[in-house]
Symmetry: C2
Subunit: 419 residues, 2 copies
């Protein structure tokens, strides 16, 4: 750790940041009147909202350890450096999707950015039954733009390789994903926990050598595939929304990986929202209606992804992959090629989706959709559906050809009484 | 280019290198008596053999351009840096397979290494009909050791990611492969040439959208897959042999890529040696016998690869992939998992094999096996077999389940009268 690093406190923050013009430009210079609150509810960092006479700003600072675990788990401050780099690329590739960045200090692991105070974390909204217009369209397009524009379909190969070289250094955060997501769920890892009553399901998963091998095959892809820069953690806790606006935050897990990674993780979190609804909507009509809306969001997300990827494929394919000299310039269509690539992406996405559904119920860092269900029997019942649907997706990722194949499966598992 | 760089000449070499102890230790200090010859017959570099009173040494120096094309095609001197790094890793992972390295000067793009003067380039031996004992076993094992020990099956993930980050900078040489191997053969690229009479075959390949798309899909893997450090150019010109000893040279194209890459390129060059034999062995018994030996080498190579990879899998699997905590520690075998990985490797290898067979007849840098056939009609006839076998392998890479599937195909195409 850098010896000049010092974690901000509520008291010290105004004085320490008062001389930074990029910050005072946003909120005003009279730092004695700044109101500071700490709102970090994530697993890793400090997050302050600072309100000055002229406006508000968010100050996010990395801690030298994993916040949710404590200083027994040290973690590089440089994750802020990768978050900053990812935010810059997100803005380039999909302008407006991420909060504006005003200032970055690598030594302090500190980013000053736009305060999204009218936005709420999507996960909370899904639990509360609050809809968001255009959610699927915005995130689906965003995933397609990140996937395409960070890849050799679009970037100059030199720029892309230099960027891969840079992001390979985000190895501590990749390592968290490698362990917590792909491996821990499938053995008695130290930090695991699962809901009472799920032991038989957990045994089923751990006994399934075919499925575990498919998961590890996906780990091989996660750790040895540099198709594009992924957000790396695009669950519903990394999305903030008003009723009509959607933003993506927290890309510190950014890495070069499979083009289907973000899409898969995103859908997994919708599926978990979907399967947990019966515990949050006591009225069965409300439940049915909101569940239907979530499935529609999934459909819209995947459709928007495919549409935008197709659009970029036809209009912005300027890299070394599937170049026009092999197709258009020879009067040949790219229909077959595009379909091959989309199938590949969807296949990876479905595998990642199933794996994410597992780790959120078995490894560290469960998600609130299930975790907030106080009735343990009900929680176990819903999580069992989630775990077995995850297994189905991992085993049969390549049989999901259309998005209706996925939503049909979701509806089927939603009816199953496993426990 | 570094301004202190200066290409060696026959006259200047002794004086310039006379003060380097690592070199004089090998060949003696009396540089006035050093005999220097330039023997570089490759496409890129200067290669000197220097004979002193105490021994011989090879001095390999990168030129700031592609030798076979000239200074109109500039190329980074840093390829020597990557060659040096690859040689070090080859020695670590398969001791004795590569020439010993005595000295490296990054600024001059210069490596001093063991002189293999009783060894001959394998390609020449295959054309001359000279057998090498244990060739398949040595190279098959070598490919397995490189594949396994440079991967997340074996390395610590931190070390591996740092190494990936380093080798991503070998981008100019990767770029040559990306263009010359994966794309140029399939359109009218500037530096292409092909034997008279092959126009209809070339048209068949360029019209085959399914095959071209599969090739580009493999390019996606080449450029976005970092499974292991590959030699990157393991054709029969990068292998030197006596009757009983085999060495691998020239890893300047080293990159992190698919575990099956080196194996596939190696086999491609044996298949081209096999298919070109009828032009080099006028006696049909000699031809049949030597062709049979080449197929046996292919079988031995693949079998040795599988055996050694399996051996390493069981005894040295210490990385994050397919960890023992998911299998052995749960009293479950890894048979399914290992088979999945081997199938994946063989599938990639067969695709790369077919692509290499194409580029060697259509793009820049043809290989001598065909190029030395003076009878153009015969050359075209044999190259046509090669091109269509390559196509078959690309299209059906996943139907090659056992090595006999490949050798049967080779025998079948060897009999086909296409032109």
């Amino acid at each position: 750790m850098n010896k000049n690093y010092s974690a901000l406190t509520l008291n010290e923050l105004p004085k320490r940041l008062s001389s930074i013009t990029a910050i005072t430009d946003q909120i005003g210079t009279d730092f004695s009147k700044w109101q500071v609150t700490e709102v970090g509810d994530g697993n890793l960092n400090l997050v302050f909202i600072v309100i000055g006479s002229n406006g508000k700003i968010v100050i996010k600072q990395a801690l030298p350890y994993v916040r949710v675990v404590g200083d027994s788990w040290p973690l590089t401050l440089d994750r802020a450096f990768f978050e900053y780099n990812a935010l810059v690329r997100q803005e380039e590739r999909d302008p407006g999707i991420a909060p504006s960045v005003f200032y970055f200090d690598r030594e302090q692991g500190l980013i000053a950015m736009e305060c999204l105070d009218s936005h709420k974390i999507l996960r909370g909204k899904l639990i509360a039954g609050e809809k968001v217009s255009n959610l699927g369209e915005v995130i689906g397009k965003h995933c397609a733009r990140l996937a395409f524009k960070g890849s050799d379909f679009y970037m100059q190969t030199k720029d892309k390789k230099n960027d891969v070289s840079l992001f390979q250094k985000n190895l501590e955060l990749m390592s968290i994903t490698e362990n917590l997501v792909f491996t821990d769920p499938y053995y008695e890892a130290e930090m695991n926990n699962h809901t009472e009553g799920l032991d038989t399901i957990v045994k089923t998963l751990r006994d399934d050598v075919v499925m575990k091998s498919k998961v590890q095959y996906m780990l091989l892809k996660f750790t040895s595939n540099t198709e594009t820069m992924c957000h790396g953690d695009l669950h519903s806790g990394s999305i903030m929304c008003t009723e009509t606006d959607t933003k993506v935050i927290d890309p510190e897990f950014a890495f070069y990986g499979p083009m289907g990674f973000d899409l898969g993780m995103n859908i997994a979190n919708y599926l978990m929202a979907f399967l947990s609804q019966p515990a949050h909507r006591k009225n069965s009509n409300d439940n049915k209606s909101f569940q239907g809306w979530i499935l529609k969001v999934i459909e819209e997300t995947v459709n928007a992804f495919f549409e935008e990827f197709t659009n970029l494929w036809h209009n912005s394919r300027q890299g070394i992959l599937f170049p026009k000299c092999l197709y258009e310039d020879q009067d040949q269509t790219t229909d077959y090629a595009l379909n091959l690539v989309l199938k590949h992406i969807l296949n990876d996405a479905m595998s990642v989706c199933g794996i994410e559904m597992h780790r959120r119920c078995l490894s560290l860092a469960h998600n609130a959709d299930f975790e907030q269900i106080e009735d343990v029997t009900l929680r176990a019942k819903l999580e069992a559906r989630n775990l077995l649907l995850g297994r189905e997706l991992i085993l049969s990722s390549d049989s999901i050809k259309e998005i209706s194949d996925l939503t049909s499966l979701a509806l089927k598992f939603n009816e199953r009484n496993i426990l």
